[in-house]
Every structure is written in C-alpha cells, then in structure tokens.
C-alpha cells in the first residue's frame, strides 16, 4: 500500500511538473529560445498572485482572472520589449539574454519581497482529501492540479492542431522565413505565442503557490524539473512532457521515502539515467 501511495502521489506531483514545463516547451518550439528565466517567471507570477490577493484582500480563486490578465500583459511586454530585439541566428545570444533576465528577476524579487518563503492559502480545500482505495487517501488539491495539467495540455493540443493560429504557430516553428514569405505576420505570431506561454506560467504559478512555499530563489529548481520533464518526454511532445513529469514526480517521491534530502537528487539521477538510455526521449518527434 505504501508503494501504491508513493506512486499515486508521485504521479499527481508530475502533473505540476508538466505545468511548469509547458511554457518552456512552447517558447523553444516556436521561438527556438531556451528560456533560462522560465522558472523565475513562474515565481514572479506567484508573487503577483500574492500581491493581488493581499492588496484586494481576496482569495486567489477570485483573483485568478486578474493574475491571468497581468500575466498575458507581461508576456506581450517581454516579447515586444525584449525578445523581439534578440537576434536568434546564433542560439548563444538568446540563451545569454535569458540568463541575464533570470538573474535580474531573482534579484528584483529579493528587493521587493525579501528572502522569506511565502505561500498562498485557499482554506479548507488545501487539506481536503478523498478515499480512492481502501487505505489510500488523495488530496483534492493534488487531483485538481493534475486535472488542470491534463486539461491544459488537451487545450493546447487543440489550439496547435485545430485552429488557424495553431497553423500559424506550426508554420513559424517549421520555417520562419517561409512563413513570413507566405504573408504571415511572424512578429504578431510571436507576441501572441508569448502571451499564451505566460498564461500557462500563471496557471502553474498559482497552483504552485497554493501547494507549497516559494521564495525569490525558487526559480532554478522549477526550471530544472521542467527541463527534465521535457527531455524525458521527447522534445515537442506535450503528452510526453506529462509522462516525463510523472516519472520525475515518482522518482522524487520514492527518493523522499529514503530520506528528505534524497528527493531532489533522485529526480535528477533518474533523468540522467534516462538521458543515457533514451537520448531522444520516450516519445521523440522526427523534427525534434
């Protein structure tokens, strides 16, 4: 029973990791930018959530639409104000720009909010649990996170493969120059894409902030787990990313059984082993 419990908890945790990863995966897929600052953007939006709830004295559930709106605005601004000016012919430059952004964001948060860990609360729902098997209780909030992850991946898949904007995204991702030649406004596509990325980041951020503590230095850990989920799943495959997240989640939960200090390490180790065994991930796409 202990084992089943660990597996279930790990799987649900994997949903959160997949949520961290979706935006990172999209930015790379569409813009070919490895956004080192991705984890820090998640934490920034957690602080945005905290600020909004404290300022208006409302629950994050009520404040969520406002946080999403702010996140979308930030996404547009980041693309319009920064990434649009970054030459992408050499992957080095966007990588290092994102790296600089990451350090700036971490230190801005440190200035604004201090180093103390913070958390968002939504009251009773956090502790509520349901019995799914005899002797097996699962947190309602963990189930909710997993459900959101599945729904969001499904929604993004629909958007990418069934809408005209999705078609534009795929065209730009395949070959930017060709897409522009065919009359696509690639700049507009990139801006919209970054808005969508930041919406997924905001969703991940709010769920993360309710689930546990965060502080200005939490970003890199989020980035690394997101990255591991993507690589395990295979670049470009969103359902693969969910599977990757679940594998890391289970690895961490098994590690935590041994000793709390093994939690993060065992996640990394499983990632490295899988990278050696399956370098192209579990569900590789031909075009990567």
């Amino acid at each position: 029973m202990e084992l089943v419990n660990t597996l279930v908890q790990g799987t649900l945790l994997g949903g959160l990791f997949a949520l961290y990863a979706l935006g990172l995966s999209l930015v790379f897929g569409v813009m070919r930018i490895v956004n080192i600052a991705h984890g820090d953007l998640i934490v920034v939006l957690a602080y945005v959530g905290l600020t909004v709830t404290e300022f208006f004295g409302i629950s994050i559930i009520v404040a969520a639409p406002l946080v999403l709106l702010l996140a979308g605005g930030m996404g547009w601004l980041l693309q319009r104000g920064l990434f649009e000016f970054v030459p992408r012919h050499d992957p080095l430059i966007p990588l290092l720009v994102a790296f600089g952004l990451s350090i700036i964001l971490q230190n801005l948060m440190l200035l604004g909010f201090g180093a103390d860990p913070q958390k968002l609360s939504i009251g009773k729902l956090e502790q509520a649990s349901v019995q799914i098997l005899p002797n097996l209780h699962v947190g309602v909030f963990s189930l909710l996170i997993f459900g959101v992850a599945v729904a969001l991946i499904g929604g993004l898949q629909l958007m990418i493969y069934r809408t005209s904007f999705g078609r534009a995204l795929r065209a730009v991702s395949d070959n930017e120059a060709n897409a522009a030649m065919l009359g696509l406004d690639t700049r507009a596509v990139f801006r919209k894409a970054f808005v969508i990325v930041m919406l997924t980041v905001a969703i991940a951020a709010m769920l993360m902030a309710v689930r546990g503590n965060f502080d200005p230095a939490s970003g890199p850990t989020r980035l690394l787990t997101a990255f591991e989920a993507i690589v395990i799943g295979g670049l470009g495959s969103m359902w693969g990313t969910l599977v990757g997240g679940i594998i890391i989640g289970i690895a961490q939960m098994v590690g935590a059984q041994i000793d709390a200090s093994w939690q993060v390490l065992s996640g990394h180790l499983v990632f490295l082993i899988l990278l050696i065994v399956r370098p192209r991930g579990l569900f590789p796409k031909n075009d990567g």
Binding site: L92, N107, L224, F227, S261, H268, F271, G288
Partner: protein
C-alpha cells in the same frame, strides 16, 4: 556569431603581452603587502575560470551553466587526496588536473546527447547532482563542510605571508598557462577547425572537422584546469563545503557576466571583464541585489548591442579614431 568577433592577427602580439605581464607580476610580492596579493590571487583565479568559460562558449560555441561542478569537484578531490588518502599536498594538487580531465569525459558524453541549446540546462542539472552528492560523501562534513588540516595548509608555506606569496605565484602560473594554452590551441590546426566550426558547423563538417571531438577536447581542457583552480581556491578558503565549493554565483553567474561584458571569443575579453568585475565589486557589492541587477542588465545590453563586448567596442573606437586622424592628416 560571425567571424568578426573571433581573435585575429598573429600569435606574436598576445605572446609578447603575456611575457611582459609575467615580468611585472612575478616579482610583485617583493613590493606589495599581503592584502594586495590576496586581492590579485582572487583576480587571477577568477580570470582563469573566465578564460576557460570563454574557451568553451566564445571559441567552441558550447554554453555551460555548470562549470561550478568542476571547481567544486576539484576542491573536494584535493581534500580527499590529502586528508583521506594522505598523499603529499603538492602531488594532490597536481592530481586534481587529471582528475578533472577524467571527470569531464563522462560528463561530456552525457551532455553531448542533448541539442546545443539544451546543453546549458543539462550542465546545470549535472552540477546540481555533483553538489548534492558532495554533501552526502562520508568524510567530507556533509552539508556544512569541513576544514583542511593545518599541516596540509602549512605545506604551502609555514607562515601566512610565505603562503600568501606562494599561492599568489601558483595562481598566476596557472593563469599564464591557461592563456598560453588557449593561444596555442587557437593557432593550431585544431584551432582553425574550431573557428570554422564556430562560424558554420555544417560547412566545417563537410570539410572533415568533427565538431564533437573538438568540443570534447575543449571540455576536457577546461574541466581539468577548473578542477585545479578549485583546489587552489580550497587552499585560499581553507575548507570545502557544498554550497561554497560549488557556488553557482561565484563560478558560473559572475563568470558568464564577465566574459559577456568583456568580450566573448577573444582572449582579452575575460581579462577586461574580470578586472572590471573586481573593481566594481569593491564599490558596489554593498548594494547586493542591485549590483546583480546592474550586471544582468549590462550583460543583456551588451548581447543586444555588441555581442563582441567591450573588446570589440574599444577596437572599433580605435579604428574610428585612426581613420579620423588619417583624414585630418
């Protein structure tokens, strides 16, 4: 990046400058106090780490965010060899060089399975693993670390002032060796294939350059020397501990900023960057987060305005001035 920011000209000038700086720096301990020497030792170590990061990124096009892994591993190796195996301290220090080289081989083998852009985050994951494992090694003091035994430290000089002098010469020698090696490599056949690769990997492959072999060579050279520098740093700090020995901020974040601001792909770049960094640190480190924000913004600005850094800006300014004089004359 285009070939424009690669080193150019013959190897005679850099070698002459190197020789001159040796003539100035080597006798310096006879004229300055311990504090100045410590300060310069710090600068030499930082500069050498920056040169090695530049060797990978600026010359090889390989961005690593995990170079602190090797600095930390070198420190822990030095501690283990001296304290647990009881080896001679000088021998132990020398052994950190092959240790780092051997360690970089499997690391590169794993990382090179990832596409270029993901190499960076992959190297970061590996560095995390190194740090977490170091905190679990028996006999290394766990998460809080452990001090070097006094007799090991004293082997490098019985009194504080002789030790400070010796470590000064040691770190300067390593820096000179690193720069000398980089000049040699860049002017060897390998170096030219490297430039070809950096400019256009596919074209270089067509001409018979194996990019992975060249990158592996750079990675091993940098891993070996970073490990040695980690040992010297341990001698400076007198202890190893996971968060200090494997400091992401000291050995990767600051280093990247230095090279990016100073000028990637040129030997002079990390030198300019490291000197500026040490001077700025003196005056701005009290501001903590604001200092980091300024560095980050400067690095972004430089990447967008001139990826060749201050080195190229200065060169361009000189060129313009020379041209104006030509016109005036």
């Amino acid at each position: 990046m285009t070939g424009e920011i690669m080193t150019s000209g013959s190897q005679k000038l850099p070698l002459a400058v190197l020789g001159l700086s040796v003539a100035v720096m080597v006798p310096l301990p006879f004229f300055v106090d311990n504090g100045t020497m410590r300060y310069l030792t710090d600068l030499f170590i930082i500069m050498a780490v920056a040169q090695l990061w530049n060797l990978l990124a600026g010359f090889g096009g390989v961005v690593s965010i995990g170079q602190h892994a090797f600095v930390g591993a070198g420190g822990y190796a030095f501690f283990g060899l001296t304290t647990h195996l009881g080896l001679n301290p000088f021998l132990s220090m020398a052994l950190t060089l092959p240790f780092g080289a051997l360690l970089s081989l499997p690391v590169f083998a794993i990382l090179s399975r990832m596409r270029v852009a993901y190499f960076a985050i992959g190297s970061w994951v590996l560095a995390e693993v190194f740090m977490l494992v170091a905190g679990k090694l028996p006999g290394f003091g766990g998460g809080s670390g452990i001090s070097l035994r006094p007799q090991i430290v004293k082997a490098f000089g019985a009194s504080t002032s002789t030790r400070v002098e010796n470590i000064y010469w040691l770190s300067f020698a390593i820096l000179v060796l690193v720069i000398f090696l980089i000049i040699l490599v860049m002017h060897s056949r390998r170096g030219y294939s490297l430039r070809a690769m950096r400019d256009n990997e596919t074209a270089a492959m067509a001409l018979g350059v194996n990019p992975n072999a060249v990158k592996a060579m750079l990675f091993v050279v940098s891993g070996a020397f970073l490990s040695l520098l980690g040992a010297v740093n341990t001698l400076q700090k007198l202890r190893v501990n996971p968060s200090g020995s494997f400091s992401l901020t000291d050995w990767t974040v600051f280093i990247i900023f230095m090279v990016v601001i100073g000028g990637m792909g040129r030997i002079i770049g990390p030198i300019i960057g490291a000197v500026l960094f040490v001077l700025l640190r003196e005056n701005l480190s009290g501001y903590g987060p604001i200092y980091m924000i300024i560095l980050g913004a400067a690095a972004i600005g430089m990447m967008l305005y001139e990826p060749g850094g201050i080195a190229v800006l200065v060169q361009r300014w000189k060129f313009r001035k020379a041209k104006q004089q030509e016109l005036a004359g």
